[in-house]
């Protein structure tokens, strides 16, 4: 023990002089480097194989990539996603505020809604809305207790396949978004309410100016996930014979039997759209992250890079 101590402390006495000139040698990772090299080689081989294998029919992929039917399918998928997400987020925010309400009736209505729409399969919900005419042949929008109807019509006319798809996707999404937004609001420190109340703020203003902007930081990443899974989840509406991106591809390959190339075409468009959406997500996250650690970290890492 003692010899060890002295030998350990001896160089420490000279340390100050040595410290100034001693270069730092970073730890080397030979195993990690070998594994990386192997993975890169495997990836390249796989890419070459995919590119050279004629059975992929890349010429067919190129032919159909900008086919009008595919493009209109992609557009419809995008519209379905944007509309359903927008309605879902707005409804979800209302449900979240209801769930956090002090009123037990509002709270339980929101809870029941979320329970039902999260607990049943989306596919079932879509088919249900599609077949709503079987339950309610005539839909009338009007005043209750026999008052005059403002809108009246056959359910088959009012609820088109597209309408059923939008209804199903939006109502289902609202349940998920409600929970995400509720979690975000709950993550904001109680002291923020105290401080804004002490400054004379209250109600919607307090929510909009102080709480929601801070909740956004927590809400955004899972919402990004929701948008992306919604984009792909819209392919479920093909059961309603709506020509979204996947359904359009399916129709084409049922005519020409080029199944794999057309699925590749559809996948390329899905990938492109999710990439663009992820880009916006990152921008939004940076916007709502300002003032939190991430900003400081970014600045620090920039400083570190400048220093080195």
């Amino acid at each position: 023990m003692q010899t060890q101590n002295t030998s350990a402390s001896a160089p420490a006495h000279h340390a100050p002089a040595a410290q100034e000139s001693a270069p730092v040698v970073p730890l080397r990772h030979p195993v990690r480097n070998v594994i990386s090299a192997v993975l890169v080689i495997m990836a390249i081989l796989a890419a070459i194989d995919v590119a050279m294998n004629e059975r992929y029919h890349w010429d067919v992929v190129v032919d159909y990539l900008f086919a009008p039917r595919i493009l209109s399918g992609a557009l419809l998928t995008l519209v379905l996603t944007v509309v359903s997400m927008t309605v879902g987020i707005v409804m979800g925010a209302m449900l979240a505020i209801m769930r956090l309400s002090e009123n037990p009736i509002l709270r339980n209505i929101a809870r029941a809604y979320i329970w039902f729409f999260r607990g049943t399969p989306l596919l079932v919900q879509l088919i249900f809305w599609y077949n709503i005419a079987a339950l309610y042949p005539v839909i009338a929008l009007g005043l209750p207790f026999g008052g005059p109807s403002l809108v009246i019509g056959s359910a088959n006319v009012l609820i088109t396949p597209l309408g059923a798809a939008l209804l199903g996707l939006s109502l289902n999404e609202a349940a998920y978004m409600a929970e995400i937004i509720r979690g975000g609001i709950g993550s904001v420190d109680r002291g923020q309410y105290d401080a804004s109340k002490a400054l004379g703020m209250s109600g919607p203003k307090l929510m909009r100016r102080i709480i929601l902007p801070q909740a956004m930081r927590v809400v955004l990443p899972p919402t990004g996930n929701q948008v992306i899974s919604m984009l792909k989840g819209t392919s479920l509406v093909s059961v309603l014979a709506i020509s979204d991106l996947l359904y359009s591809a399916q129709i084409i390959y049922s005519e020409n039997y080029q199944t794999i190339p057309l699925l590749i075409v559809a996948s390329i468009w899905y990938l492109l759209m999710t990439t663009i959406l992820s880009f916006f997500q990152e921008k939004l996250e940076r916007h709502y992250g300002r003032g939190f650690d991430s900003v400081i970290k970014r600045k620090r890492s920039r400083k570190d890079r400048n220093a080195s």
Binding site: D189, A198, R209, I210, D293
Partner: protein
């Protein structure tokens, strides 16, 4: 205009079966500094939060600047005010918290001008100039563009004081403003508070800084177990306590 800024009459507050305040009565004179001391759990922070209705009282009466806090008296009953009216009645007082509670998503300048713009409807240009004066006064004139997280605890607490002052309150409430600070940062916050006291601001301060109490306070209130045990001039309460509980507390703190 009465000379009494805060008047508490037998204020009671409980959470469920647990009674935190068991009838607090005290007066705070306009322009005076009152320091509340006492062991943790004695109810001093709860009482402070009752003064601007962050906590609802269960019985008794609490007047700030002559009007009831959070309630309207009609036909001999106290009716709870609507949120908006309560919010409006809070504007007479500013509050500084133990954990600063600055808005992390806003810059220092935005933190200060947020409530004057949103609540008082002040013009951004006017209030920004005033906020700059306030920031200069707390020694942070050059930090307006920073975010709260980029500041030390002491700096954040000074911003919190400036933020409360921007609403031009008649009364400032301080809830253990130095308890969350590193020891070397306590002084800078106390200095700002001393300046404020010298300018004649009415202040109610919950603190463990007995030095501050001795130096700045006009009135020291010792609370324990939800009641006021002893109150009076700082020299009397701190140096010549009459009650056993006060003596026991002071001997532990000093």
């Amino acid at each position: 205009m009465s000379n009494v800024m805060v008047e508490a009459q037998a204020v009671r507050k409980s959470y469920g079966n647990l009674e935190i305040l068991k009838g607090i009565s005290l007066e705070v004179q306009r322009g005076s500094v009152t320091v509340l001391i006492g062991p943790s759990g004695s109810g001093k922070t709860t009482f402070l939060r009752c003064i601007n209705h962050l906590e609802k009282i269960n019985a008794g009466r609490l007047y700030v600047d002559g009007s009831l806090v959070g309630y309207e008296e009609r036909n001999g009953k106290l009716h709870e005010m609507k949120d908006k009216a309560t919010a409006a009645s809070r504007r007479a007082s500013g509050m500084v918290f133990q954990r600063f509670n600055l808005f992390p998503h806003l810059t220092i300048m935005e933190n200060i001008i947020e409530a004057p713009i949103q609540v008082q409807g002040r013009k951004r240009k006017d209030i920004t100039a005033e906020a700059q004066v306030l920031l200069d006064r707390v020694g942070l004139g050059d930090r307006g563009r920073s975010y709260p997280q980029e500041l030390s605890g002491g700096q954040q607490q000074r911003v919190a004081i400036a933020r409360a002052l921007a609403m031009k309150p008649q009364l400032m409430l301080f809830d253990e403003p130095t308890s969350a600070l590193d020891p070397e940062l306590v002084g800078e916050v106390l200095d700002v508070m001393k300046d404020l006291a010298e300018e004649g601001m009415t202040m109610v301060v919950v603190t463990h800084e007995l030095g501050f109490a001795r130096q700045v306070a006009d009135h020291v209130v010792f609370m324990d177990g939800g009641v006021v045990v002893e109150s009076g001039h700082p020299a009397d309460v701190l140096d010549n306590p009459q009650h056993e509980r006060t003596k026991a507390f002071l001997s532990k703190v000093l």
